[in-house]
Amino acid sequence: MSDKKTLGELLTERGVSRRTFLKYASYTASILALPPTAATAIAQGIANARRQSVIWLSFQECTGCTESITRAHTPSIEDLIFDFISLDYHHTLQNASGHLAEEARMTAMEENAGKYIVVVDGSVPLKDDGVYSTIAGMTNLQMLEETCKDAFAVIAVGSCATFGGIPGANPNPTGAVAISDIITDKPIINISGCPPIPEAMTGTIAYLLSFGSIPELDHLGRPNAFFGEAIHDRCYRRPFYDRGMFAKSFDDEGARQGWCLYEVGCKGPVSYNACATLKWNGGVSFPIQSGHGCLGCSEPDFWDMGGFYKPLSTATGDALKFAGGAAVAGAAIGAASAMRARNKRKQVMKEGK
């Protein structure tokens, strides 16, 4: 449950100094691409905030998003976010089960009406009255609508919640849809990826705590701090692309020399995410650095777009749609799609206000 004390008071009682706050704030400012001088304001904002009630709903998903956000093995600066929130409901992580678990969700909603954040991973099946995924006798649709009714904001994490993801892939047997297809009267932040980068999830929550507002979003409702640039633009192999030096197969000399993976299907040029800068597993590496092209998992319908190993330049019609504004032939389709999403986003934000 949320505490009446501020986070600053709570953590001071536990011996956590303001220097630690400032260190966390410096880290947060860096991952949010804010100037280092913003750290003081972030530290102050978090210190003055109350523990944020979070209700985490898991629908048609694989638990990879939860694995991603809880991936750390040792207590560290990156984990402080878990001291800043009160995770009041999460199927996988909570001790309570059955009726007690559902009571915890209802209590959190009542005590924090208008203030709690709903995090959702997984898509919602609508076909056949939603019978393909139920929890505590409720369909995912019923639970989502009930829980979001009094929420401050909704964060959809993972490509299933943001765009339908793998459950929504052709032929979409359960009629899976994204959260934004159902919830239209609340601010929704999409953090796509399969799974999303953990810092993108924790950094967004830290932003909400620090500033009490929604971060700047792109046309797909994703925070610009993490999704503002194509992986290709920040890729360390980019200079090889610029020089026309491409691996032709995964075991040729070009691959051994670390050349660009565009011709073996890399979707980096049309994928917007922070993999090339934040990387994975504590900054160790990311798929391209490990020798495999980007799958484009943070983009809508990535699963159905022509094959992971086909280069974008020879992709199918569907893949051109995937390429959106970046591919020449897909530019018109991409622009129209972006416009629809932007209009929808504006409408939601307007109604939310």
Binding site: T20, Y24, S26, P36, S76, Y236, G282, G283, Q289
Partner: protein, 134 residues
């Protein structure tokens, strides 16, 4: 800090970025000297190659002050051979670098004790004096 990469890449080469960062530091130092206004550069946000980073660290060197802090993981701070230019390195999980910045200031804010911590310290010491017979 060497990249643990399966394949060679351009990160193994100097790009000239170190000199650009040094020029920016020079401007920030001028501002600090003239107005007292502090500034900083987030090194993580820059496309520095490993060689660039090594060049930058070597050119700035280490000066008179070096501090190690234990704040949810290690933090290392040193003043470079250019007074007023501080290198701040925060480490996170598994001792990896979580963020790194160059601060151009009289003293980095994180080294100063926060008033809230001073107040808490006074209260704690008073409580201990009341319960001990030292």
């Amino acid at each position: 800090m060497k990249r643990d990469s399966a394949a060679p890449c351009l990160s193994d080469r100097a790009t000239g970025m170190a000199r650009s960062v040094l020029s920016e530091i020079n401007n920030l130092l001028d501002t600090l000297a003239a107005t007292g206004e502090a500034g900083s550069i987030d090194l993580r946000s820059l496309p520095l190659s490993d060689v660039d980073r090594e060049q930058l660290e070597e050119m700035l060197g280490q000066g008179e002050v070096r501090v190690e802090m234990d704040l949810a993981g290690k933090t290392e701070i040193w003043e470079t051979t250019f007074p007023g230019v501080w290198w701040i390195r925060h480490r996170g999980a598994a001792d990896k670098i979580a963020t790194e910045e160059i601060a151009v200031c009289r003293i980095p804010e994180i080294l100063m004790t926060h008033p809230v911590d001073i107040e808490a310290a006074a209260g704690r010491l008073r409580a201990e004096l009341e319960t001990t017979n030292v």
